[in-house]
């Protein structure tokens, strides 16, 4: 018994103290995967904030945009042109979603819209397989001139290994968050977005066009999906399996709150770091592999004490 308590409550911290460089390495890796979770969660938050819809299709949007990018390149389109075309594809998707799904379903209960995003998910899976095939693809990191290799930084009496692509991902994610924050707080569109989130009818009465706002948020979510797709794709492969990773956004959202951009970031980092630290120091006690479910446990514990999330504005109504 005492041995068990020791190995849960004392030993992991002893290990951390004994090898601080290893701790730093684990923290860094947690931070990086946290940033990527945060990117996915950001896509959800954007759409939820402006329309109250939990967009189940965010995960497949990530896959679909990455496939489009790689697929176009395979057909001989230069990398940067392919990237620009992918942006256009996401814009077309935003218009199509507004016209075909959101507009006919306006004023329907949120659960109906949520189910519609399920439909969209399977449509995009089918379309993606039809056009690009079901085989995993390799992200065109070199053509996009994404940095490869890594730095070895001496720290705390050892080394911390940092992949350059991870550093780039962190920087890009930070820039994106900053851009979104400026958009939400400084521009007329940002004010309109917040207005739509607060009250549809009041927004309509002052002449805000819901259709325009929806296209904008879905397009913004599409851009976030592209960035996420490139970053995830560069670390593993571009395949439909990536879609599952979108489910990791759920605990992030529960933690950070469905309506908060900073919440998505901080929630992502907590989940990412929590997972890695948990796996590395406590995982061996349970025979490892706890990384895949630890996030959900953290989220459950949070739900018990703070159901609106760290930064959420109101109680989560859906999911």
């Amino acid at each position: 018994m005492t041995h068990l308590l020791y190995s849960i409550f004392v030993d992991p911290f002893v290990q951390m103290g004994a090898a601080p460089d290893l701790l730093a390495q684990t923290l860094w890796e947690g931070l990086v995967s946290g940033v990527l979770y945060a990117l996915i969660a950001l896509g959800f938050v954007l759409i939820f904030k402006a329309s109250g819809v939990f967009n189940f299709a965010q995960g497949i949007m990530v896959v679909f945009s990455a496939l489009t990018l790689v697929g176009l390149n395979e057909h001989g389109v230069p990398a940067y042109l392919a990237l620009a075309l992918t942006v256009v594809v996401m814009l077309v998707l935003a218009f199509a979603v507004e016209r075909v799904i959101l507009r006919p379903l306006v004023n329907q209960p949120d659960i109906i819209l949520f189910m519609a995003t399920f439909g969209l998910t399977y449509f995009l899976i089918g379309l993606g397989e039809l056009i690009f095939g079901g085989d995993p693809k390799v992200m065109i990191s070199d053509q996009l001139r994404l940095p490869g290799g890594s730095y070895r930084i001496p720290m705390l009496g050892g080394y911390v290994q940092m992949q350059k692509i991870d550093i780039a991902a962190t920087v890009i994610a930070s820039l994106m968050v900053a851009a979104l924050a400026i958009m939400f707080n400084r521009t007329r569109i940002g004010r309109a977005l917040r207005a739509v989130a607060d009250s549809h009818k009041a927004a309509l009465s002052v002449g805000i066009s819901l259709e325009q706002i929806w296209v904008i948020v879905w397009f913004a979510a599409g851009i976030v999906a592209i960035a996420t797709g490139i970053m995830w794709g560069a670390r593993s492969n571009v395949s439909f399996a990536l879609e599952i990773i979108a489910l990791k956004a759920l605990p992030v959202l529960i933690l950070g709150g469905f309506t908060s951009i900073p919440g998505a970031i901080i929630g992502g980092i907590i989940i990412g770091v929590g997972e890695k630290i948990g796996e590395f120091y406590w995982g061996p006690l349970l025979g490892s592999g706890i990384e895949s479910w630890l996030a959900y446990v953290i989220a459950l514990v949070f739900l018990l004490f703070r159901p609106q999330g760290l930064f959420g504005e109101r109680i989560i109504e859906r999911l």
């Binding site: 400084r186 009250s199 009041a202 309509l204 009465s205």
Partner: protein, 260 residues
């Protein structure tokens, strides 16, 4: 300053509206003349709010037409109505609760902003000039409604009476030609009602804004309005000057009930 009531600015002709089997409006014809204060009264469920919702495009009637400033339309979109110069408030306040009073009022100017996205993001050039211009306009509204002290307060925290006032302010910020007020005095105490009456009269008088209001308080209606329309079960049962309407037998029956 004596006001001059002009030609009809809004004409609702033969409008019928139903939701499934529930009939909300039946062949309602209703006009509003420029610069007047026009009241709509009637028992609960008479279709008063439905009529306002038809005018500003929230509801699309199955029959009839709406002409505003001479443009005759079968259906209006809320966006078009706002663009044409119609602003409104709601029976149950519809403000942007998370935003400050200032931001709420600024949303009222949405359609008057012309600078582009990039300029706004960088707060540069036209955007900067424009923001300052709009702020100046908003300050006028704030002064007019005497809400200087709550400028930066999130509206969710304000007491009910002040929220109603802010909502009026948001509508005024759009500099509307036609202002629709759905029970602007509901749930207010006497003092708040008097303030609101004063604001409505001043808006009408100083800016020449045409006003349509729904109200239950009879003394308010009789004092404020130039003409009163009475709805009952979705039909218009009386229309005319306050004194005529008050004496109308159909109106008395509708309000007091009639023995069958």
């Amino acid at each position: 300053m004596g006001k001059t009531v002009g030609a009809p600015i809004l004409e609702v002709e033969g409008v019928s509206l139903s939701f499934g089997g529930v009939v909300a409006l039946q062949a309602v014809t209703f006009d509003v003349r420029e610069h007047e204060i026009r009241a709509i009264i009637g028992p609960n469920g008479a279709g008063k709010s439905s009529l306002l919702n038809v005018i500003n495009g929230f509801y699309h009637p199955q029959q009839g037409s709406i002409s505003f400033k001479g443009r005759r339309r079968r259906q209006v979109d809320p966006h078009e109505a706002a663009q044409a110069g119609i602003a409104r408030t709601f029976q149950n306040i519809a403000l942007f609760r998370g935003m400050t009073v200032l931001d709420n009022l600024m949303t009222g100017r949405t359609l008057k902003m012309t600078s582009n996205f990039l300029q706004q993001a960088l707060y540069w050039g036209a955007a900067r000039r424009e923001e300052l211009e709009h702020r100046a306009k908003i300050e006028e509204v704030i002064d007019f409604l005497e809400i200087q002290h709550i400028r930066k307060t999130p509206v969710g925290r304000l007491p009910y009476g002040l929220q109603k006032r802010v909502e009026l302010g948001r509508a005024l910020a759009a500099e509307p030609q036609l202002l629709l007020l759905d029970e602007p005095m509901a749930g207010m105490n006497l003092e708040e009602k008097q303030d609101m009456c004063r604001f409505i009269l001043d808006v009408n008088d100083q800016f020449g804004t045409t006003i349509v209001l729904i109200e239950h308080d009879m003394s308010v209606v009789m004092d404020l309005s130039d003409r009163v329309a009475v709805l009952d079960y979705g039909r218009k049962i009386a229309d005319g000057a306050p004194d005529e309407v008050r004496r109308d037998q159909a109106v008395i029956d509708a309000y007091l009930g009639v023995a069958h």
